[in-house]
């Protein structure tokens, strides 16, 4: 009932915005529809605290999905990001626990660099095997997904890796819980990552090459683009984004477990697609992706806040909402 009505609502609202880029606006209209649904289900939904909680929680997937936007718009796919997040988190925590450098602050700064280094290397591994080995990204990243996960389990002895130093924990914690000018730090980090990514994708020659490679690899090659280099680079960017997500993730619970990052790859890919990026490549929408990640988290939030859905059926309702959001988008695209 409410689903069909929100559908027509967005269509009606859409007609007034006819001169805007329709596909780019679609995810934001779907988001607005979710806001209406959430407000109807529970008045607490629209409270600033709740929305900031949800926005903050969506930061890991949003940041990872920004990286996935590059990979996917260049015609690739990375299934290893969830396991990679666990691995990067594990290595970063082991480094922080090693107390190799004096001073908590220095240790944390180097720890962040270590994380980004590990993420970039893991991404480079994916990219190199895919481009040099000429293997389908699906298979390569399925393989590295298993490899990164097992290595993490091995590093953690099957348990969890927790930050040992309580003083360092206290120093690091605000990265997730702290605020700056009223907004949580992770939200600022999403914004900065989004601005940088949008600049790279829309304003640099590398960004244009990414889109060209994703649209038509052969044409790109004959136009003198180093196709392999561009594609490999998208995986490195993906790795760096995973590392940034980990830097936001670790301070929340101060630990990595063997289930850290489980199924994040699917959530990231879903966010990218909901956001309007085509899975076949050639189109990339950074802000749509971030909106998509936010929508995924909101759907979960609305489910817990509602009293009408049995806890056994939440998955089904979530699936339905995601499909409807996509249908709204496709309808808008066809009209174009």
């Amino acid at each position: 009932m409410s689903d069909t009505s929100t559908n027509t609502d967005t269509r009606g609202a859409f007609r007034k915005l006819a001169d805007l880029d329709k596909t780019a606006v679609a995810p934001f209209l779907a988001l607005a529809a979710l806001f209406v649904l959430g407000a109807l289900i529970n008045p607490n939904f629209l409270s600033i605290d709740n929305l900031l909680n949800v926005l903050t929680r969506s930061s890991f997937i949003a940041i990872i999905a920004v990286g996935a936007t590059f990979v996917i718009s260049a015609g690739g796919l990375d299934l290893s990001v969830g396991s990679m997040a666990a691995l990067v988190a594990g290595v970063m925590l082991l480094f922080l626990n090693s107390a190799a450098i004096d001073g908590d602050m220095a240790m944390l700064c180097v720890g962040v660099l270590v994380a980004i280094g590990v993420g970039a290397l893991a991404g480079l591994l994916n990219g190199a095997v895919i481009t040099i080995g000429k293997i389908e990204p699906f298979i390569v990243t399925l393989g590295t997904m298993a490899i990164f996960r097992s290595v993490t389990v091995w590093l953690a002895d099957g348990g969890s890796i927790a930050m040992k130093s309580t003083s360092m924990r206290a120093l690091f914690r605000p990265v997730y819980t702290g605020t700056f000018i009223g907004l949580p730090i992770p939200v600022w980090i999403i914004a900065i990552v989004g601005i940088l990514a949008a600049f790279i994708l829309y304003k640099t020659s590398f960004g244009r090459h990414v889109i060209a490679v994703g649209s038509n690899e052969d044409v790109a090659k004959y136009s003198g683009i180093h196709v392999n280099r561009v594609r490999a680079m998208t995986y490195v960017l993906q790795g760096i984004c995973v590392a940034i997500a980990v830097v936001v993730y670790i301070p929340r619970l101060g630990a990595a477990t063997t289930t850290t990052g489980m199924l994040w790859e699917l959530q990231a890919i879903t966010a990218v697609v909901i956001g309007g990026t085509a899975l076949r490549g050639g189109v990339g929408r950074i802000w749509g992706t971030i909106c998509g990640a936010f929508m995924l988290e909101i759907v979960g939030n609305i489910m817990v806040l509602s009293n009408i859905v049995s806890e056994y059926l939440i998955g089904a309702v979530q699936g339905t909402i995601i499909i409807i959001a996509m249908l709204v988008q496709r309808t808008l695209q066809r009209k174009k």
Partner: protein
Amino acid sequence: MRKLMIGLVGAALASTMTFAYAQDKKVNIAVSIPAADHGWTGGVVYHAERAAKLLEKAHPGLKITVKTSPDGASQANALEDLTTQGMDALVTLPHNSDELTDPLRQVKEKGIFVTVVDRALSDPTVQDLYVAGNNPELGRVAGTYLKDTLKTGDVVVIRGLPIVIDEERQKGFDEAIAGSGIKVLDKQFGNWSRDDAFKVMQDYLTKFPKIDAVWCQDDDMAVGVLEAISQAKRTDIKIVIGGAGMKDMIKRVADGDTMTPINVLYPPSMIATAMELTVANFYDQVPVRGSYILDATLVTKDNAAEFYFPDSPF
């Protein structure tokens, strides 16, 4: 069946055994368990390896092989390999009861002593000995504690995954609080994951202005719950009850943390209990066949030290 008991079935032991040679007797025992895919199974692997060392030291002729498998199919293969290598007894925590009943039946048909841990087989005649924790009791102990401590209050529940173990725990809890002043405001699945439990708890805090206690049946989830509460700076929640006996949570109980006054055991070390009993069957001439159901022991400040393994990964 739901009580602590040892079924004294089939006391007849191998006639080859004599007291004179008992200590030097050669016995091969294989242990087949899931790989460490989450905290609890990580604990199972740790305790299996720990018990193997202790038992081999105590019995010079004893050889214990511990083998982990990532899923049901590879565990079935591992069972075949272990049977080929030759063993006198098998201690196993099967990935999935339905999938592994037949492979285990084949092991049993070779005359091997079979001990099953935690997940009962669909055909109980295959197992000589069954060692498990008590899931309904885990829920009941938590529910009873809340009923006795709070008398009246609003409780939120975070469940694990929709499988039998979770249903049994939930049922035990519901029965314990039935008719009391304890009211369950909401139940949601947290998938036995810290991150998911954190999210669910954050949403509970948004949804309900006053919560007296949280029951989340698992210590990994309790970690996420406690973090969400401390971040929201809410002071209305008096008690958070986890379960299973993770070392960090046992330590909190031992240290007298007011928010986590108790824990309910569902210990991964039950694999060690099973191994001890199986070895006793061969060396000590004591009857062990039957079912051994461990209590869901209530851990309080007073007895916490007994259940604290600082070196365990769980």
